[in-house]
């Protein structure tokens, strides 16, 4: 099967998956023993029938559940994700507002995690048992065991409050004007606007949260790379390659790493999708207006248009990232594409 057919087939699968996601989320969010009116109408206003009636009419809560679902899917098919009960703004507008901050943070975190975790994992495998291996294990252990709410606070305390070498919370200096949004990605926007000072400031603000958020991913990438590379290095074909007298670098890079990289790539794909949605603590500590907090608040507030919207977005991110990972598998190992 060719690569393009593979991609098309995967993309077509997205449609039933998304329908399943919406149906499941819709049902789950409506089975919860709580009344959406609680989020929409305040305690005081609840005793005022005209306010309650207006809210029920406005939010369609008087309609039967199947009708509410069909109405939702119909609107979805027209690109309308509905209006959030909590923020009272279109969900699409909310997601567009919070997504860029999350994308910027996640990409920076993954870059950091890969740039450090991958070579560290390779070194740990090649030099298994040496001090480098021990160091890699120590760094990974720290990343995997320190909860971000603690490491984030510590990092701010040390580098922002005490040493004063890095800026505090937020995406840009508290007194500086936020860059006028082109993409909502501050680094890209300030770069496109040619504002070098703001670019440097945005970059500096990105360091601590991305290191804190990325550290856990770094730990996973490092450990997976190490273990899969060690396994591959023990295989017969590597022994054959070495016996042929190939240079160790060629054995490692061309023969061993190519195979060992597949589990790492899978991990990176999953980790990236996880970074996009699981940054709630990092977002709180660093006052980062991302999608993690929005998703959690939507869930606890029974704001099901927002829950559905974020679930759909997260599902799409997972599907998209997995698709890219699948394509990359094919690039690394053509046998997978042919299978």
């Amino acid at each position: 099967m060719g690569l393009s057919t593979h991609i098309i087939r995967r993309l077509l699968l997205v449609i039933p998956m998304l329908i399943g996601v919406t149906l499941l989320t819709f049902l789950v969010s409506r089975v919860v023993p709580a009344d959406p009116l609680v989020v929409i109408v305040s305690e005081k206003a609840l005793d005022h029938p005209d306010i309650v009636e207006a809210a029920i009419r406005k939010w369609g809560l008087d309609k039967p559940l199947p009708q509410q679902y069909l109405y939702y899917v119909w609107n979805l098919a027209h690109g309308d994700l509905g209006v959030s009960f909590k923020t009272k703004r279109p969900v699409a507008q909310d997601l567009a507002q919070y997504l860029p901050a999350t994308v910027e943070l996640s990409v920076a975190s993954l870059l950091f995690a890969t740039a450090v975790g991958l070579p560290l994992g390779i070194l740990a495998a090649v030099k298994a048992g040496s001090w480098i291996d021990h160091l890699a294990r120590f760094i990974s252990l720290l990343g995997a065991s320190m909860p971000p709410f603690w490491s984030g606070l510590m990092a701010l305390f040390l580098f922002y409050f005490k040493a004063r070498i890095l800026p505090g919370p937020g995406r840009i200096d508290a007194r500086a004007a936020t860059p006028h949004g082109i993409t909502g990605l501050y680094l890209l926007d300030t770069f496109l606007l040619g504002d070098t000072n703001a670019f440097a400031d945005a970059l500096r603000h990105l360091i601590l949260p991305s290191v804190i958020l990325g550290w856990f991913t770094l730990a996973i990438i490092c450990r997976i790379t190490r273990s899969s590379l060690l396994e591959v290095l023990r295989m017969d074909y590597i022994r054959t390659a070495r016996a042929k007298g190939l240079h160790e670098r060629v054995v490692l890079l061309r023969h061993a790493l190519r195979n060992a990289f597949i589990p790492t790539l899978t991990t990176m794909g999953l980790a990236f999708a996880g970074l996009m949605t699981g940054a709630i603590m990092t977002e709180t500590i660093f006052a980062w207006p991302g999608i993690g907090r929005y998703a959690v608040e939507a869930a606890v507030n029974l704001d099901y248009p927002a829950v559905l919207g974020t679930t759909l977005l997260i599902a799409l991110i997972y599907i998209f990232v997995n698709l890219i990972v699948d394509i990359l598998y094919g690039v690394i190992d053509p046998r997978i594409r042919e299978a």
Binding site: A34, K44, D47, L118, L123, R175, R204, A287
Partner: protein
């Protein structure tokens, strides 16, 4: 070996990039007219900045600074209604008609004059939009424009609370021309036809000392001074309010000089703030009541439906220990539903802990050996600590309390469905009148009294007097009588009244805590 070198190089390069980025020159803030005040706070609650839709806490502060109300309560004297847009007002003998005389020559930030028609439009839009704050205008039957600066308001019934309601930020006066230009309407079907919310989320259409120039949800709100403000030019050029949810981080920003004011500090951080010579810490007395509510419905809890048991529970709580130990002393306690600082409160009525009396009451009610009960509450870290303390307090008289923390939305759903027997809740005022509490805690068909199945016609009779009696002395007496009835029936026992801890740079002057809208930026300087 080359590969080892390559890998080490990559790690070093990453470290170098991070370090270089860290050392990059700091951004020069865009020059703005000074002084700018940066305040950090948790702004998670902000949903909209349209004053006729908003019903959260943070927006009260924003609306008080971007719009004017007809009258106001100045911080420091919460018992006296002071003029604001209205220079004076007259009340008809039957208490049904209020005539307000607007200060002449006042202009909105658009340049349009503030007229009686704007008052009519504002209140009718609020009423007809039928969103959460619409109940403020319930009492208003009609608004009549007499001339450009005179407006006559007809009430549905005499209300001693009306002027206090007029001072609430939701009753602010908007620029009707500008709001209409952006799709606003005061028509009867405004709940479906008004389209001005999106615009009012990002802009203000008021005559206040500041102008809203930007709101980025969960990030920042920016206000700029209105240089033509009719009561004088503000002393701050700009106010930037930043969303910082973590209290430790917020204090660090203040101490580092990145912020000038932290809206609310945790009690755990007060000593740290007080120890900093560059900071000042101000304690504000809120009017927020935190209480235990006990059902009168025997089907939900037979023991609690007996008032002797409810009285025993109220006598078992170690209020002083709770305030001194858990709140580190940053709390007060009102005797009953009326908080300290509001008409009719009598601290002498305060009832403390009396375990012997509590045990005697339980014995009399037939619960000498105690009973089990489930305490329900919307979970948050403060409530968790206090609930644990309540559990241990009540255990001393033999009552086994099973704690049931819930998501706030689930808790509210169950509580509003009248399904809960024993609750730990809170009540925050919207305006400064005793009816804010007497209405909520007394009537069998509304508020928390309804949710807890409390029904005593005597309590309702007194509450009705509080809601309609125009003679302050008679009203005060009714408030006291109502509290006596409630303290005998004991459907609620007040646990504590929060204090708000505000920390700011010593350079900030003019701060006076206000229990409804927190701060007036117009009074601040730096």
């Amino acid at each position: 070996m080359k590969f080892v070198r390559l890998s080490l190089t990559l790690i070093l390069v990453t470290a170098l990039v991070v370090t270089l980025a860290a050392c990059a020159p700091r951004a020069t803030p865009t020059p703005v007219p000074l002084p700018t005040l940066v305040m950090v706070m948790n702004m998670d609650d902000v949903v909209t900045l349209d004053p006729h839709h908003a019903y959260e806490t943070t927006n009260l502060m924003i609306h008080n600074s971007t719009y004017d109300t007809l009258v106001e309560f100045r911080a420091g004297d919460l018992t006296k209604v002071a003029p604001r847009l209205a220079d004076r007002w007259e009340v008809s003998a039957d208490g049904l008609t209020y005539t307000f005389y607007l200060h002449p020559g006042v202009k909105f930030t658009s340049g349009n004059p503030v007229t009686a028609e704007d008052v009519r439009f504002s209140w009718m839009r609020l009423k007809n939009i039928k969103d959460n704050p619409a109940f403020y205008a319930d009492i208003v039957a009609d608004v009549q424009v007499v001339n450009d600066t005179t407006v006559k308001v007809i009430l549905t019934e005499p209300s001693p609370a009306f002027l206090a309601i007029c001072a609430a930020p939701a009753m602010c006066i908007v620029d009707s021309k500008v709001v209409k230009e952006h799709g606003g309407t005061d028509a009867a079907d405004a709940d479906q036809t008004d389209k001005a919310k999106d615009w009012l989320d990002q802009n203000s259409a008021g005559s206040g000392p500041f102008i809203l120039t930007k709101w980025t949800p969960k990030a920042e709100i920016i206000l700029e001074a209105n240089p033509n403000y009719w009561r004088g030019k503000p002393k701050l050029g700009k106010v930037i309010i930043k969303h910082v949810a973590d209290p430790t981080t917020a204090l660090q920003m203040l101490q580092r000089g990145d912020a000038d004011m932290v809206e609310s500090l945790d009690v755990d951080l007060v000593e740290q703030a007080k120890a900093d010579p560059n900071l000042q810490v101000i304690i504000g007395q809120t009017l927020n009541q935190n209480y235990l509510a006990m059902t009168s419905n025997p089907e939900l809890s037979k023991p609690l439906s007996d008032k002797r048991v409810r009285q025993a529970i109220a006598l078992s709580v170690d209020y002083d220990g709770l305030i001194k130990a858990l709140l580190r002393g940053y709390g007060s306690r009102a005797p009953s539903i009326i908080p300290l600082g509001i008409l009719g409160v009598d601290p002498a009525m305060t009832q403390g802990r009396n375990l012997e009396k509590a045990k005697a009451l339980l014995k009399e009610a037939g619960y000498e050996k105690g009973f089990e009960v489930e305490l329900c509450y919307g979970s948050n870290p403060v409530r968790e600590t206090i609930a644990a303390k309540l559990k241990s307090d009540l255990a001393e008289v033999g009552i086994t309390v099973n704690l049931k923390p819930m998501e706030q939305s689930v808790y509210l759903s169950e509580m509003r469905a009248q399904k809960l027997a024993f609750c730990f809740g809170g009540w925050t005022p919207d305006y400064l009148d005793p009816t804010m509490w007497t209405d909520y805690f007394s009537y069998h068909d509304r508020g928390i009294a309804k949710r807890m199945w409390y029904n005593n016609p005597e309590a309702e009779r007194y509450a009705k007097i509080v809601g309609t009696e125009l003679d302050p002395a008679k009203r005060e007496q009714a408030i006291k009588d109502l509290q006596k009835v409630l303290m005998d029936d004991m459907p609620f026992t007040m646990l504590y009244q929060n204090q708000q801890i505000v920390a700011m740079n010593k350079a900030v002057k003019g701060f006076a805590y206000h229990p409804v809208h927190f701060v007036s930026f117009f009074d601040l300087s730096k």
